[in-house]
Amino acid sequence: MKGEVTLTDEQLNEYVEPMPGRPTADLDRIDSAVKQVLEEYPEYDTAIDGALAEEIHRGLDITRRTAGDPGLWHWLAVVRYPDLVRHRWEYRSEEAMREKFLGAGSDLYSNAIHRLWWIAELTSRGDDYSTTDAVFANQTMVNKVFDRWFARYQPAVRAMCDELADEPSRVIDETTRRFNHALTNVQLEGLSENEAREMIRQIVAESQ
């Protein structure tokens, strides 16, 4: 995980296999976005996330079913874009770096590329990525919203991200914590987006 090793295609081929369903992707589009990021952004700059999330989400023509296959994200991080992973994430420990390359599955916060696609998937509305952009413009929101289980329910996460977009870290912290606590009594999937928004607005007002 640390240092430099160049792996040949032959060394990698042993571990690479076709994906079920044969999903397609516009890898040229992602290649070019990644190249641009590597040239324009300094190492470990969190703004890299916002610059890439929409391109990665648009470039991968996949369903949630396919996105649930860890192999896809391992291939993208380890084989296709390892330089991007290292450029975005400073080596702090073997465990942390292993997660950025080999995480995936239901943990939204692990694999470096999986994380960008999923946050875009949960916050975009068709071609509108404005909520996705707002989320990545505020790292507190990324951390406090997507590390919680309610973030898996799209109506709630969209309402939360919209309502918190312009709020300071303290309010984001307090609102996500209190909303999560309210879900002890409130059944999450029963909420429409408007109902979630109504609850969140009330909590934001009380948290300011």
Binding site: P18, G21, G68, Y153, N185, Q187
Partner: protein, 345 residues
Amino acid sequence: MTRHSQRHRTTTLPFSYRDKGIDFELDSFTVDDGNQTALELNPAQTEINLASAVSSSDSSDDPDWETITLYGKLRLPEETVQAVFPQDERAQPPAKLYVAIRCHETIYRDRVIISEAPTTPGEYNVTLEVPKSTVRGTVELRPYLVRTESHSGEGSSDYAEQKNFRVASGTLYYVVVDRPDDEERAAIDGERVRFSQNAHLPDGNKLYYLDFRNESRPKLWINSDHPRIAEVLQSRGSVGAEARMRDVILDQVSYGVWVQLLVRAGSAVDAEGDVEHEWQEMVLQTFARNLYDTSDVSEATYRLSDDLSDPQTLPHVIQRIDSELQEYINPREQLIHLMEEGLQI
């Protein structure tokens, strides 16, 4: 004295709540435009394995289906409505009834509304569509009854008073739509069934029974006459009291099962040192060498066979088997987990 069964348990919510206040039964399914197929679930069975019904002929490719539709019924009993709504709301309960659909692997949470407010007691038909594009692995289905309006009455109440508060829920079903990649066929089959309703199974309060009517493929029956135990055995979690208790019960069952399998397999060894059935070979391969502390499985198999057939050596080999199984199952580990969970230490 009123006798309270498990279905009447409440949770620790600060208002009246019925954890099992909704009866939820799935009875059939279709795959795409195919015929409707009955599910034929055993009592207390909550895991529905549809992986083989939807699997692709080419195992390396994605299964060839688009939508699974599950059919069933939700019944909201009068007693649940009376328990969770104040008197003035019971005629027209301000509540909606829906089934939450969750899939851990695809970070998916959604719901299918079965009844909008008011939801009165009675039976409701359920049709749940599960598109392949949104799920993989196991899909969870659970019904909820949720308030749709805040209660306008005054003062503190034993009832949930705010809009969107959940007031009742029902059985959580696990629908398996994909077979794990590395799943091998188990050496013996297992099934849950009510012993009291099957003449070939033993009477009394047995927890399990290992059935050798088909010697080539023994079958383990778990007695679902004990719903609380059957429920715990079906729990899927890896943390919490239920999961800890499940692991301890499984250790207990597996000890008894292995003893029987080992004695049967050891007694079935022929003069050439062979056994007839695959499960017997598997059991001997797994245990015989350790029983006799030798790397030669043939030698160990002969010794086990001899020891089991001689009244002089039988007690000693049973002691060896006991010792080996305690090493193999390691019941101590799961017991400590359970104790830590139960005693909070």
